[in-house]
Symmetry: C2
Subunit: 431 residues, 2 copies
């Protein structure tokens, strides 16, 4: 049976998972694909630490060149994470004629253009199923299963940590601080959860989903990103009363000849399927012009889910290698009808607004006046119970409004002397 050798760069949690699967499913995979997958080398800076999988010591090395320079290794599997030196390792491996499997969303989001270009020039494939939604085969589905579709939008809950926090806040009525502590205790949040909570990780994944759907790598800096740290238990409760759940969504939407890419907390109708996606689960909602509205749901992280995806990429590459198939273009046909990215000022959304107003006559009239001045019409207003002496939360839902107008109106409202706190505004998607 033909053997295909791989070199593993990064022997951490997911790396151990990949080794486990390739050991335990060796025979099954060989039967399915007619190829024996052999781990020829594993590189990590720490090769002495005890791990939850046993490997022959001779496989281990601290020197990545033992993988990069080994002509018998066909596939380099990069699971070390981070931008540098992962990027240099991948480029070097491509130059030496290896195909790449990686789970490194940050790297692909930041340097995807360079990496995919290098791969295309070398006639090599870069596969990255594990980089979005762990074991959910979302990348294969968009790339191959929906190959003939054009996409009007892709929405996703693509960060398990922040979804866990929002779920906790919603189910337990607790504060953001308490929910994030609970997430840390359960191992669902890192000690410094900034990347997850502030939407950076979601933005990296959004770059990849956008690439798959529209054929272009958007600059992370061009994505509007807002995290969930400003979401309060009160807003979650008020939203629920209005029939909405609050989720951190990564959104790519085509509007005429513009593309909107944004990550932010979003009010979703409670009866939308995405609103039922709780805890550390991920789900990606895809609107294809042929296949319709699809949703892909599953655990968004974890050793075996991510390793399951890495192994599926390896298997696909063994078939490509056996057949001499080079198919980067499956990913990357740019949608030429897209002329530009829509600027945040031009986004149009319905809004949930919460204002902390002093409870006296005339305040609401002033607020309404300002909104009207900016052409913002109100779908509903509810005055809530007093929280502190004299200050009453007023919750409003607007009709569609241009972001810029909303921002300007809120700025003016917040300058009123009867408004005691910065007003809160959260976008609504009535999908």
């Amino acid at each position: 049976m033909k053997k295909i050798n791989l070199g593993l760069i990064g022997f951490g949690n997911i790396g151990c998972g990949v080794v486990k699967i390739l050991q335990q499913r060796r025979l099954l995979l060989a039967q399915k694909i007619g190829v024996e997958i052999v781990i020829k080398k594993i590189c990590d800076k720490d090769i002495t630490r005890k791990r939850d999988v046993h490997v022959d010591k001779n496989l281990l090395t601290r020197d990545v060149n033992e993988i990069i320079n080994d002509p018998q290794i066909d596939i380099a599997v990069e699971l070390m994470g981070g931008i540098s030196p992962a990027k240099e390792f991948i480029l070097a491996a491509l130059k030496k004629g290896k195909h790449i499997v990686t789970a490194n969303k940050a790297l692909l989001a930041e340097c995807g253009n360079e990496l995919f270009r290098e791969a295309a020039e070398r006639g090599k494939n870069i596969y990255f199923e594990a980089s979005v939604g762990a074991g959910i085969p979302i990348i294969k589905s968009i790339k191959e299963g929906l190959v003939a579709n054009k996409f009007s939008r892709i929405f996703g809950i693509v960060n398990g940590t922040s979804n866990y926090v929002l779920t906790q806040m919603s189910k337990e009525g607790c504060s953001f601080a308490n929910a994030i502590n609970a997430a840390k205790i359960k191992g669902f949040a890192e000690n410094d959860p900034t990347l997850d909570i502030e939407g950076i990780d979601s933005a990296h994944k959004l770059v990849l989903l956008t690439y798959l759907a529209y054929g272009r790598i958007v600059n992370v800096k061009d994505i509007f990103i807002e995290g969930i740290s400003q979401i309060s238990a009160a807003d979650i409760a008020y939203a629920k009363e209005l029939g909405y759940a609050i989720k951190l969504l990564a959104i790519a939407k085509k509007k005429a000849d513009e593309l909107e890419v944004r990550v932010h907390p979003t009010l979703l109708p409670v009866n939308h399927l995405l609103s039922s996606v709780d805890g550390v689960f991920n789900a990606i909602y895809v609107s294809g012009d042929l296949a319709g509205n699809l949703m892909f749901y599953g655990p968004g992280a974890g050793q075996l889910p991510a390793a399951s995806a890495v192994v599926s990429d390896i298997v696909d590459l063994t078939q490509d290698i056996k057949a001499g198939l080079f198919r980067p273009t499956l990913n990357s046909i740019e949608d030429s009808s897209i002329k530009s990215l829509r600027k945040i000022d031009e986004f149009e959304n319905k809004y949930y607004i919460r204002i902390a107003a002093v409870d006296k006559p005339g305040v609401l009239a002033k607020v309404s006046g300002i909104l009207a001045k900016f052409g913002i019409s109100i779908a509903s207003v509810t005055q809530k119970e007093k929280l502190k002496a004299q200050v009453v939360p007023v919750v409003m839902v607007t009709h569609e409004v241009k972001e810029k107008n909303l921002r300007n109106a809120l700025r003016m409202i917040d300058r009123l002397k009867d408004i005691k706190q910065k007003s809160i505004a959260i976008r609504i998607e009535d999908i």
Copy 2:
């Protein structure tokens, strides 16, 4: 650019969709795959009817041999449906060296062993993405995306018609008869909806899902099948009060060395994602030992969703053909740890039971006595408001009980003179 020719057998609704997509996305597909897909011939018994797509008259034929015997045609796309002569056409096309794409679940479920064997002997692939869940890439996902996984179970809502009917009954509180009429008016049910409503179509799809997950084609006759025509608005309402939705599920479950395959109405906890799958949508819930619990959701029928899947199969085949890849074994490694199919008598489930009892002292005691005699313990009992003079519905939820015991107990209960109607029993899945 390399051209790959296909012959279309069946120019009905989905066939027209395939032609539309291949016309409209000709350039996009050619760019993505580096192959030009050419429709060389279209066969249908009616080639004069006006259709919603325009094709050159020279492509049309009534004689399937113009496809089967044309050595320049690489792929036969069978979209005529039904067992015969679709089966004979596919076998003939395989013998002439063609790969097959089909959406024909009934045929694959009934004759899959023979067809896949013939394909394997000829070194040809049969792809069938459109046969389950229309445009949802569920087959590719199980086969390729989850290639390293073993599956403890697959649950699915795989019939849009019956899901629409149950959704209508639940949302509108209407009867089965009214709901099925509504479905017919909307075009979601055929004039004779038996195949959909009685679970046969779901069973066909279950055969295919079981094949993908466990590598064996189960005989349709060995599947326990129960439809939804006995479900009443009352049961849906009572289930809702207990926190359950009623869905027609196709279920394959591995239990020790046995496989359970069954299609029946099922009480699912309302907070389970599948409970939120409404209307004509389908969803397949897959438990992989590596990737975890995944769900794939989308429209379960329709011209373009189904055609989207057919085209993705055609695209995959163009790549296989270009590379000389033959890969039927990706589907079909039999799970040798499965010794037999579990017999219906041995199924173990919780049950929802509704009994129509005369409202007088002692009846409930007799019923409870019978249940106890068969070792059936009760988790909850609720006596409902009287529906007719003297007859009171009593709703019970059991703990896990062997099917045989439940059936025997109900038979004995129904013989009591104070029980005025056949008792209703619906299985519960607390997943």
